[in-house]
Amino acid sequence: MNEIAIMLLAPIIAGVLAWLLDIKRVREIVGVIGAAVPLIYIVQTYQSVFNGGTINLDVPVGGFTLSFALYNLTWFFAAIAALLGFTMALGMASTSKDGYEWLFALMSMTGVLGVFMAREFVSFFLFWELMTFASFMMVLKYNRSASLKYFILSVIGAYAMLIAIGILYAKTGSFEFSTIQQFMYQDATKTALGVKGAFGKSETILLYLLFLTAFGVKAGAFPLHVWAPDAYSETNQSYTSFFSGVLSKAGVYGFVLLYSMMGIKLFYTLGTFGGHSLFAYTIAWIGALTVVIASFLAVLQEDIRKLFAYSSVGQVGYVLLGIGVGTQLGFEGALFHALSHAIFKGLFWLVVAALILQTGKTEFKDFGGLAKKMPITFAFGLIAVLSLAGIPPLAGFASKWILYEAAISAKMPLVAGAIFLGSGLAFAYVVRFLYAVWFGQMPSDLRNVKEAPLPLLLGMALLGMLNLVFGIAPGLVTKFLNTIFGHEVITGDIYTINTGVGNYNALMVAICLVAGIVIAGVLFLYGAKTRKVEVNDTYQSGNPVTQDFNLSIRVHFYKPLEEALSFWLRISFDKLYTIIAKWVEDFAEVLKNAVYNGNVQSYAWYLGIILLILALWGW
C-alpha cells in the first residue's frame, strides 16, 4: 500500500483503537506503535527523497481529488512531525491517563502529517481543521477558556484561509498547488510588464493578509500569539511537546507555501522597501517582534509551563524571521531552526512533563534542588538548556548561526539585532529554569520525588541525542536542505558549514571545548582534595542559618526587569481580544433581545417592512 496512506492512517486508527479499548497497558502499546509507524516510513524513504525522488498519492473524495506528495521539502516537515509524534507517544505512555487523550493526540498527528504532505488546498484545509480540532480537544479537557481562546483564534485563521482558497479557486479554477503556482507566476509577469493580471492589487493584498492571518495564528506570531501561553500550559505536557514543536511548524509551512506560490506575484505587486521586498520584510519584522516580545514575557513568568510556552512562541518567531529574510540562506536557516526548535523544545516539554508528573507542582516557587533526585532528567534538561541558549556545539547554535549570517548578509541589521536580544533573553530564562528547579534548597514536600519513568526517559534520550548529533554535525541537516533548493546553498562537509561569508566547524569547536575542559580539569585535580558540605552551610555574613530558612530566590526572579519594562507591560493583546470577545457577546445579546423580543406585534411589523422592501425593490 502506498507509504503516504499508511503514514496518514496509522496514527488515527491507532488512536481510535486506543480510545475504544480503554485498557491500561494495551492502549499505551497501541498508541506508541501507531506513532512509530510514520517514523519508520520516514526513515525508510530518506534515501530516495534525498536523491530527488517523489512519492504521490491521489484520493478522490466527494467530488474533490485529495492529493499528497512526499518529496524533500514535505519530507523534512513530515520527519519533524513523525519524530516528535513518536517521542510524544513515549511521553504520553507515562503521563496520560485515558484513551481520550490518545485519540486526539494521534488524530492531531494524522492532521499535521496530512497538512505537510498535501499538494492541494482541499486536503490542506481538511487536515488543517482536523489538526486544530484534535489539539483543541486536548486542551478542552483541562481548561475551557484557554481552549476556547485557542479554538476561536485558530478557526478565524482557518476561515480566513478558506476564503483565500475560495478566491484562488474562483480565479484559477483549481486547488492544486502547482497549478496555482504557475498561474501566479504568469500573473506576476503580467503585472511586471504593466498588463492587468487576473488578480488586482487589492485582491493580492487581501490574499496576502488572509494567509498571513491564517498561518500567523497557527505559528503564534505577534499579535496573534495570545492563545499559545494558555493552550500550551493547559494540556498534557507530553502532548505539548508535539503541540508546540510541530503544530506551530504547520504555520511555518504555510508561510513557505505562501512564498513558493505567491512570492513572485507579491513581490511585483507590493514592491520593495529599503531594498527588501515589502511582503517578506513584513514577515521578517513580525518574526523579530515575536522574538523580542515573547522572550521578554517569558523572562517574567512564574509558572514553568507559561515560561516555556512564551519561549516556544519566541523561537517560532526566529523561524518566521528567517523566512522573512527571503534569501535561500534565510530559508535554510529557518528550516534548520524549525528542526532544532522541535528537538530542543520537545525535549524541554518532556522534561517539564516529567517534573509535573513526579512532583505535581507547576510554579517555580514550589520547586528546588531536584538535581540530586532526578539526575537523568536534569542531564537532559541541561542539554535542552544549552541548545536553546544557543551554546555551541549544540543544535540550537548551528541554526541560530545560519540565521545570523542570513539576516546580516541580507542587510537587515535591525532584524539581526532582534535575534541577539532574543538570544540574551533566552539565556536569561533558561538559567531561571535551571536555578529554580534544579538547584538551591529543596522544599520539604519534594523529599520523596523519584526519577521519571522509563518511557519518558526514552523519549528524552532520543531527542537529547539528536540535539548533540545535529549540533556536532550540522552538515547532515544542511546537506539535506540543500536538495530543496537544488544547489549548494551551504557548503562544507558534515561537520563544517560554510555560508560563503562565514565558517563554522562544529567538530573543531566541540574538540576544543573538550580540550579546554580537560585542561581545566587537570588544573582542578592538581589542587587539594575537597570536602562536601550541605547546601545550607554557606556564607551568610555572620547570620546563623537553619534548615527552613529560605536561601533561594524563586519568586519574581527578574523583578528589576519587570520594573524596567513596566510601561510596556501595560499593553496586552490578550486583554484586547478578551475585550473584543466580550463586546461581541454583549452585542449579540442586545441584538437578540431587540429582534426576537417575544412581541408578536413587532413580528408582524417585520413582515410588513419586508413586504414593503420587496415591493419597492424594483423602483
Binding site: 481543521e129 481552549s147 476561515y159 413582515l607
Partner: protein, 494 residues
C-alpha cells in the same frame, strides 16, 4: 408501476383519518400504529428513490389521469425522491421517539396531526402545481400550528398563537401572489409557468414573485420573518421540533427554490435573488448571535437551526448550479444532524425533566451515549472534517466565492465562529463539569442515535456516493429546461 408512488400522498392521508377508528379499538395501539404507517411510508419512499435514481427519470403521477396543465400532477424527480425519503425516515424516527416522549392526551389527535404534517411536507415537495403547493403548505402549517400548542402550556399556546398570526399573514400573501401569477399567465402548473415566465409583465412579475417568496419565507424561517420560530421550536413537543427542523422548513425552502428557479426568466429575478442573499446572510448572523447567550439548550438548537437554514437559503440564492448543489447537500446533512440533536435533547428532557443548561451538566457521566451523540452533532455542525457538514459547508463557501460574493462568505464564516463558541461551551459542560450516576438509556432510542451518528461519520469520511446523489438532485432544481421537458404538458395555451 410507478403510480404506486401516489401512495406517498394517499397513505398518510387515509391513515390520518383512520386514527379515530384505531382509538376505538385500543388506546394503546395509536403509537405503534403511527410507527407502522411511517415505516410503510419509508418503504414506499425508498422504493420510489430507487426507481428514480436507477432509471434517471422522474416519476410523474397525474391526478385523475388528466394531463397537466388541466390536471394536477405530482413530479417526483431526483430532489423530491431524495427528500421524500428523508421526510419519511425522519417521521419514522420521530414516531418511534413519540412513544417515549408524548405523554399528554389526546394522543389520537397527536397521531393524526403528525401524519398530516408528514403528508403536507411530502406533498409540498412532490407537487407540480403551484396551487396544490399552497394547499399542502396550508396542511403543513395548520398541523404545525396545532402541534406547536400540543403541550398545553402557556408558553406553547403563546408560541402557537404567534405562529398562527405570522403564518397566516404569510399564507395570505402567498395566495395573492399566486392569484397575480395566474392572472398573468393563466396556468397554475409549475412546468408551464417555467415555459411562459418570460412573457410576464415586468411589474406583475415583480409583485407576484415578491409576494410568493414572502409567503414562503415565513415558513422557511428567513430573517426577520422567522421570529415565530424560536418560540415555536421551544414550545412544541420534542419529536415535533425535530420534524420542524429536519423537514418542514426544508420543504418550504425547497418550494421557494423551485419557484425561484422556475421563474428565472422573469425580469426582476436578479433583484429578488440579491434580496434573498442579504436576508439569508442576516438570518445566519442574527441566528448565531442569538444562540450565544441562551440558557435553554432546545432554544439554542432552535437558533442554530435557523442559522443553518439561512445558510441554505444563501446557497439557493446564489443563482449558480454549484450553489444549488451545495445547498441541497447541506439540507441533507443538516436534516440528519438536527434530527439527531433534537432527538437527543428531547430524550434528555424526557429523562431529566427539562432542557435548561443545568440539566446538561455532567451528562457525559449520566447518559454517555446521549452526550456522545450530542457531541458528534455539535462537532459536525461546527464544520469539523470527518463529519458530514464539513463537506457541505465547504461547498457552500466555495460556491459563494465563485459567484463573487466574498463578503457573504466572510460574514457567514464569522457567524460560524460564534456557533463554535456556544457548542463548545455545551460540550465542555456535558463532559467536564458536574457529577452524576450512570442512568439506564433506552435501547431503541440509543440504537437510533448510534445509527445517526454512524451516518454522520460515514458521510463525513466517504461523501462520494451522497455527493453524486445530491448533484443529481441539485440539477433537478437548477436545470429548469429539463424539468419542463419531463412533464407531459398538454400544450394548452393561456
Amino acid at each position: 408501476m410507478s403510480q404506486y408512488a401516489s401512495l406517498l400522498i394517499a397513505l398518510p392521508l387515509i391513515s390520518a383519518f383512520f386514527v379515530p377508528i384505531i382509538k376505538r379499538i385500543s388506546r394503546d395501539a395509536i403509537m405503534p400504529y403511527l410507527s407502522l404507517i411511517t415505516l410503510i411510508q419509508t418503504g414506499v419512499a425508498a422504493w420510489a428513490f430507487k426507481e428514480v435514481y436507477t432509471t434517471g427519470k422522474p416519476i410523474i403521477i397525474m391526478a385523475g389521469g388528466f394531463k397537466p396543465p388541466v390536471g394536477i400532477n405530482l413530479y417526483i424527480g431526483h430532489f423530491a425522491a431524495l427528500f421524500i425519503l428523508i421526510v419519511a425516515l425522519a417521521s419514522f424516527i420521530m414516531a418511534v421517539f413519540s412513544r417515549k416522549a408524548i405523554s399528554i392526551e389526546p394522543k389520537d389527535k397527536y397521531a393524526m396531526l403528525f401524519l398530516l404534517l408528514m403528508l403536507g411536507a411530502t406533498g409540498m415537495i412532490a407537487t407540480g402545481d403551484i396551487f396544490n403547493l399552497f394547499v399542502f403548505m396550508e396542511i403543513t402549517s395548520i398541523s404545525a400550528y396545532a402541534l406547536t400548542g400540543y403541550n398545553k402550556t402557556g408558553e406553547a399556546s403563546e408560541a402557537s398563537m404567534k405562529y398562527i398570526i405570522l403564518g397566516g399573514i404569510g399564507s395570505s400573501f402567498f395566495l395573492i401572489g399566486v392569484a397575480l401569477l395566474y392572472g398573468s399567465l393563466g396556468t397554475l402548473n409549475l412546468a408551464q409557468i417555467a415555459q411562459l415566465a418570460g412573457n410576464m409583465n415586468a411589474t406583475v412579475a415583480q409583485a407576484a414573485l415578491a409576494l410568493i417568496i414572502f409567503g414562503l419565507a415565513v415558513e422557511a424561517e428567513i430573517f426577520p420573518l422567522n421570529a415565530w420560530a424560536p418560540d415555536a421550536y421551544q414550545g412544541a413537543p420534542h419529536p415535533i421540533t425535530a420534524m420542524f427542523s429536519a423537514f418542514v422548513v426544508k420543504a418550504a425552502l425547497y418550494a421557494m427554490a423551485r419557484i425561484l428557479y422556475i421563474t428565472s426568466s422573469a425580469s426582476s429575478w436578479s433583484n429578488v435573488l440579491r434580496l434573498l442573499i442579504v436576508l439569508g446572510t442576516l438570518t445566519v448572523i442574527v441566528g448565531e448571535m442569538s444562540a450565544l447567550r441562551q440558557k435553554n439548550v432546545k432554544r439554542m438548537l432552535a437558533y442554530s437551526s435557523i442559522a443553518q437554514v439561512g445558510l441554505i437559503a444563501v446557497g439557493f440564492a446564489l443563482g449558480t448550479q454549484a450553489g444549488v448543489n451545495a445547498s441541497v447537500f447541506h439540507m441533507f446533512n443538516h436534516a440528519i444532524v438536527k434530527a439527531l440533536l433534537f432527538l437527543a435533547a428531547g430524550y434528555v428532557a424526557v429523562e431529566l425533566g427539562g432542557t435548561e443548561l443545568e440539566k446538561f451538566e455532567g451528562l457525559g457521566r449520566k447518559m454517555p451515549l446521549t452526550a456522545f451523540s450530542i457531541t458528534v452533532g455539535a462537532v459536525s455542525i461546527i464544520g469539523i472534517p470527518l463529519f458530514n457538514v464539513f463537506w457541505s459547508k465547504l461547498r457552500l463557501i466555495l460556491a459563494a466565492l465563485s459567484a463573487n460574493y466574498a463578503w457573504i462568505a466572510a460574514l457567514v464564516l464569522g457567524a460560524s465562529v460564534v456557533e463554535a463558541v456556544y457548542y463548545i461551551r455545551l460540550i465542555h459542560l456535558m463532559w467536564f463539569k458536574g457529577e452524576g450516576e450512570k442512568m439506564e438509556e433506552n435501547f431503541v432510542l440509543g440504537g437510533i442515535m448510534v445509527l445517526l451518528v454512524a451516518a454522520i461519520i460515514i458521510i463525513g469520511v466517504y461523501p462520494g456516493p451522497v455527493w453524486n446523489i445530491v448533484q443529481k438532485a441539485g440539477s433537478d432544481l437548477f436545470n429548469v429546461a429539463n424539468y419542463v421537458k419531463n412533464v407531459p404538458l398538454l400544450g394548452v395555451s393561456p
